[in-house]
């Protein structure tokens, strides 16, 4: 329980009316509503999780909310990031979020942090808040948020999502476990697909984000039983909630009995990002590339070129470069796709493409290892849409 100091907190007539449904709840009441107003919450990220949870926290009457986001609104965000509207595409998320939250509750004070949370700024940014909510989308930032919370002694309300499934818990609260007690190490880059690669049901982060908001409010009010020591798993497809026990690891390098991590480290390094990037660059160096404009010229000149799309069938159905053939990357990885490519090429020049060039580069490496040479379309179908034909949607 945080027990924020409410001695100097007053609620105006407007606020009393606004929060009347809280005030008549014995578990909240006037004192509880004052606690919410006295409280400060930092939300890292205003994306899928941050969008719904900050809207509810604003509506609930949290006094001060800090937003950390350096990104701009993209059309592909709107399927789930309900804080951002269509008119905000291309504009900073932090501006869009501020506008929406202020509209929900003008009594709210919003602190804007239009930066990427880093080892250099995390402690300074997090220090001034009662609790931190992790609404990020990558492993380095999640370990950074965790370690900053442990070092500063702040609760970390955690949520993460993948396709139709989500996880949520409260870390480092009242001697409970931290993120590193649950997962001591991150997976190597590329092993776990991101939402951008794996897709996500738009409503899913709504459910998980609202669980996070609920836990934050309970911690501030000091009511109920929090998710401390319990990992909540949510499966939207089967509409099932399950929970697993979570224990503090006495040997945890950050929150254990004899911590070895006593200041913030290089989290990109910890998650193997620079190493993976170097390998990617090395692989790319041996890869032949062609730009979308150059490919268009080849096709217009009637050159003997076979263009193969390695995205999945749904992406192919939604948008494609005319005259291309679909051979999804998994089929190439599993083997049967290789023979299909070989028979399609049959002496012609081969160009491979995907959404933005990553998967087709992977496919080319596999094909090269079995003696099939080809060229990668730089920037994939997105580059084709930008350079050649804007009518092809960037899905």
């Amino acid at each position: 329980m945080l027990n924020p100091d409410t001695t100097t907190i007053e609620l105006s007539r407007d606020e009393l009316e606004r929060y009347s449904r809280h005030l008549i709840l014995p578990e909240v009441g006037l004192e509880g509503q004052k606690k919410l107003k006295a409280a400060s919450v930092l939300c890292v990220g205003t994306g899928g999780l941050g969008a719904p949870l900050t809207m509810y926290l604003a509506a609930a009457g949290i006094g001060r909310i800090g937003l950390v986001d350096f990104d701009v609104v993209d059309a592909s965000n709107l399927q789930r990031q309900i804080i951002h509207g269509t008119a905000w595409i291309g504009k900073p998320k932090i501006d869009s979020a501020t506008d929406r939250l202020q509209e929900i509750n003008p009594h709210l004070q919003i602190d804007r942090w239009p930066v990427r949370l880093s080892s250099e700024n995390a402690l300074d940014i997090c220090r001034d808040y009662d609790l931190i909510i992790d609404g990020t989308d990558n492993f380095p930032t999640r370990y950074l948020v965790n370690d900053a919370c442990v070092l500063l002694g702040k609760p970390n309300v955690y949520g993460s999502i993948f396709r139709f499934e989500g996880q949520s818990t409260v870390f480092h609260y009242e001697d409970g476990p931290c993120y590193r007690c649950l997962y001591p190490e991150p997976p190597p880059p590329g092993l776990v697909p991101s939402c951008a690669e794996g897709g996500v049901l738009g409503i899913l982060p709504g459910v998980i984000g609202v669980i996070q908001a609920t836990e934050a409010v309970k911690i501030i009010l000091g009511i109920g039983t929090t998710l401390k020591g319990r990992l909540m798993l949510y499966d939207a497809l089967n509409m099932k909630f399950r929970e697993l026990k979570l224990r503090r690891n006495p040997e945890c390098p950050v929150c254990g009995d004899h911590p070895t991590v006593t200041s913030l480290i290089d989290y990109e390094e910890f998650c193997g990002i620079p190493q993976a990037r170097a390998e990617e660059e090395k692989a790319k160096a041996t890869l032949q590339e062609i730009t979308a404009t150059e490919l268009k010229q080849l096709l217009d000149a009637g050159k003997d070129v076979v263009v193969i799309d390695v995205r999945n069938p749904d992406e192919f159905a939604a948008a494609r470069i005319p005259g291309t053939t679909l051979v999804p990357l998994p089929k190439i990885e599993q083997g049967p796709g290789i023979e299909k490519v070989r028979s399609l090429v049959n002496g012609s020049a081969l160009v491979l493409h995907c959404r933005s060039g990553m998967r087709s580069a992977k496919a080319l490496q596999i094909l090269q290892s079995v003696g099939i040479e080809g060229i990668n379309l730089k920037g994939g179908i997105h580059a084709w849409s930008d350079e050649v034909d804007p009518s092809v949607p960037k899905v």
């Binding site: 989308d137 990558n138 993460s160 979570l246």
Partner: protein, 92 residues
Amino acid sequence: MAVKVLIPAPLRRYTSNQESLELEGSSVGEILDDLTGRYGELKKHLYGEDGRLRNFVNIYVNDEDIRHLQQQGTAVQPTDVISIVPSIAGGF
């Protein structure tokens, strides 16, 4: 003895999209051997090059992490449910 094992979404592409499997064994280690025997590609996702279970894939017997039981030596009953819970980071 068959025990139910729940397969998480990120790993289902290696189990022909099956969400749960009935696998043979009397300990967590035996069950996982049966799993990786049937679905070979899963092996590198569950075990590191040193042959140890990876630190970002947790295995639970019912609601308890096997790190707090007897690791892979943890005995299982037919009524137990084994969950594989990998680290996911999505949030945007």
